[in-house]
Symmetry: C2
Subunit: 139 residues, 2 copies
């Protein structure tokens, strides 16, 4: 079974614009939500943005990580040709970041996503410190 | 904020071939893995197959649900046009199913995926009983 090593996991997740963030929910057990992100060393930055419509920026995912910081990030490729399938899972701990620390984060995100060009496009961010990697490839 | 109602959530998840399954992990908190599935009423069937390469069919996800059956399934659309984004989350409880109950499951999966045409292509299945839906759409 082809397993991906840590460097390859980091490279693939770093090249993927679109991830799934899984968090611990106190009652339902788990939540999962699509996110975008940018990787910097062993940290993955996930914006809480003002770009996509939302009723509040106090998102459920923020309440979840405040209660239990353990998270999992998934990057993957799916297609009808199953020989091309792969996925990378990053485990770690998450923390919300705001204020001054946000400047560099938004710049990193803006380099990947035009949607974050405006200074007020990101209201805070989730910093995931990755502590473990798992990667699978169909071949 | 456009929220999707339960019927629309069920329809979109049912039309999506490729889902993410999030489970409770006893130590790491959460796991997430891409899966394929077929929906039947309020049950989503996820195969444990012999098609994709794996070192064992005793997958981590099966150990996770045996310890804590609470799961979350995510269906979603991502693309560069963020006006088209949407996601649907199904919460529920999961159980492994094997033996006779598997015949109909494999037939339902084979109707969607050529890869499950062979009788021995599915070794068991995860049945997710959906108890709650959440759906978000960018517009």
């Amino acid at each position: 079974v082809p397993r991906l090593d840590e460097d390859e996991c980091r490279r693939r997740l770093g090249n993927t614009r679109h991830l799934v963030l899984a968090t611990v929910h106190p009652d339902r057990g788990v939540d999962a939500v699509p996110v975008v992100g940018a990787i910097d060393g062993s940290t993955v930055w996930i914006p809480v943005d003002t770009v996509k419509p939302k009723s509040t920026t106090r998102l459920r995912r923020l309440a979840n990580i405040a209660t239990d910081p353990r998270v999992c990030l998934l990057a993957e490729h799916y297609g009808d040709d199953w020989d091309q399938l792969w996925w990378v899972r990053a485990h770690g701990t998450a923390q919300e970041v705001a204020g001054h620390d946000l400047h560099g984060v938004r710049a990193a995100l803006a380099a990947r996503f035009d949607q974050y060009a405006m200074a007020d496009s990101v209201s805070s961010a989730i910093a995931v410190q990755v502590t473990g990697w798992t990667g699978w490839s169909a071949r």
